[in-house]
């Protein structure tokens, strides 16, 4: 299978490896030759696409405070995880303190967990663009139930986007 670098030129980012002189030849690609955090294929439900991302168990109490990133090379921080709740239909939602500037001016929005992935210590929203998220209603806790910290849920993965 031929894998193509979708983002065109992608500079290789070498971090310091001991003190000796390191010069690296051939730099067309970074660690990534296919991007991570791709949106769900057209026509596929969030649950179906999340199931393709090898969902892994994670403790709910380990998620609040995590950065929520945009799955692009610049990895813009869209917000931070505030809490996890079940909505009136029983669907698990991640409440994100979205937007703002240095902690001021953000507002909570609820994003289905199946629209998100775990990327190491961070999370990413893969199924919605920042423009779509801006149109999400401000989260209201009525009709939702918080999920206990000790609960284990499954969340899909993605490779880093850089």
């Amino acid at each position: 299978m031929v894998r193509r670098n979708m983002s065109g030129v992608r500079s290789m980012r070498m971090r310091s490896i001991c003190g000796a002189l390191v010069i690296v030849a051939s730099a067309a690609h970074a660690q990534s030759t296919t991007p991570g955090g791709m949106p769900p294929p057209p026509g596929m439900s969030l649950a179906e696409s999340a199931a393709m991302r090898f969902p892994q168990p994670v403790r709910v109490g380990d998620l609040p405070g995590r950065d929520v990133l945009r799955p692009v090379e610049s990895q813009d921080v869209l917000g931070h995880v505030r809490q996890l709740v079940r909505d009136s239909k029983g669907q698990i939602m991640v409440v994100i303190d979205f937007g703002g500037f240095f902690g001021f001016g953000s507002r909570p929005i609820a994003v289905p967990v199946d629209a998100m992935v775990l990327v190491g210590q961070d999370m990413e929203v893969v199924a919605f663009t920042p423009e779509q998220l801006r149109r999400f209603p401000t989260f209201s806790p009525s009709g939702t139930t918080p999920i206990a910290d000790d609960a284990i849920i499954k969340v899909g993965l993605a490779k880093p986007s850089h």
């Binding site: 070498m14 000796a20 010069i23 030849a25 991302r53 990327v119 490779k159």
Partner: protein, 257 residues
């Protein structure tokens, strides 16, 4: 005023353009890049900068020199830092040269570990065979060449124990790996025998999950993340340089931390 040391004939500056991608790879190494000029390359290598291929081979020669310096500096008994189990990131961070949706799980029941090269007993190993060997657990930092890291807890057989058990020639230069995801890799024997180099089968006390290399992956504390092949299917002990997936694309081979 013209420098008295300026040569009469100046090399064509477009030669650097030919190697723009190489030079861009040094973008986080402003110091080195700042010093990288045609003149510096000539001084370092005596190469003929008018031939582009000679510039690339000069750069690769420097990378190989760096590998051998790192091998000289490597202390086989010095341990990398370890961390408390409470710091283990669960689940660990996924990475590969493709996205997670392209992971092809390996069936542990039919999986066999092949052996070749300078090994006395080349019988294939089953997962049960491997798990019957002595196991250790370590909590170490995974450091990626891309600049990120996380703390992970790994359990498995020390590669040294395995190599001794199969009668590998421990004086050989290289231990090479083949994987189910076509990601060949290889390491030096000194690092293979290091006490923090494992054939890992568990993460955080649980069986390794599919995206992280089930049933067996290499996990070593003394090298960068890309030197840790997942889904290992064969091990070869050899004196011929085996290379690796990223190494054949210009990444340093030794990649010590």
């Amino acid at each position: 005023m013209k420098s008295p040391f300026r040569p009469d004939e100046v090399p064509d500056a477009s030669l650097l353009d030919d190697h723009r991608s190489l030079i861009r790879s040094l973008e986080r190494r402003g110091l080195i890049r700042g010093g990288l000029s045609l003149g510096a390359l000539v001084m370092l290598t005596g190469c003929d900068v008018k031939r582009p291929e000679s510039v690339e081979s000069a750069l690769l020669a420097i990378s190989r020199l760096n590998d051998s310096v790192q091998a000289l500096l490597f202390d086989p008994n010095k341990l990398a830092p370890t961390y408390p189990a409470s710091m283990i990131l669960r689940p660990p961070k996924f990475n590969a040269y493709y996205d997670v949706m392209d992971v092809k799980p390996v069936n542990g029941a039919t999986w066999r570990l092949g052996l070749s090269g300078l090994v006395a007993d080349k019988r294939p190993w089953t997962l049960q065979d491997l798990q019957a060997l002595p196991q250790i657990s370590i909590v170490i930092k995974h450091i990626c060449v891309e600049g990120w890291s996380y703390i992970g807890g790994w359990t498995g057989t020390p590669l040294r124990t395995f190599l001794e058990r199969v009668g590998a020639d421990l004086r050989a230069k290289y231990v090479a790996f083949k994987t189910a995801d076509d990601y060949p890799s290889s390491i030096d024997m000194a690092s293979a025998l290091h006490p923090q180099t494992l054939l890992a089968t568990k993460y955080g006390g649980e069986t390794l999950a599919d995206p992280f290399g089930y049933p067996v992956r290499l996990r070593m504390a003394t090298k960068l993340g890309y030197k840790n092949p997942k889904w290992i299917t064969a091990i070869e002990v050899t004196n011929s340089y085996p290379g690796g997936y990223w190494e054949s694309r210009g990444f340093p081979w030794f990649a010590g931390i």
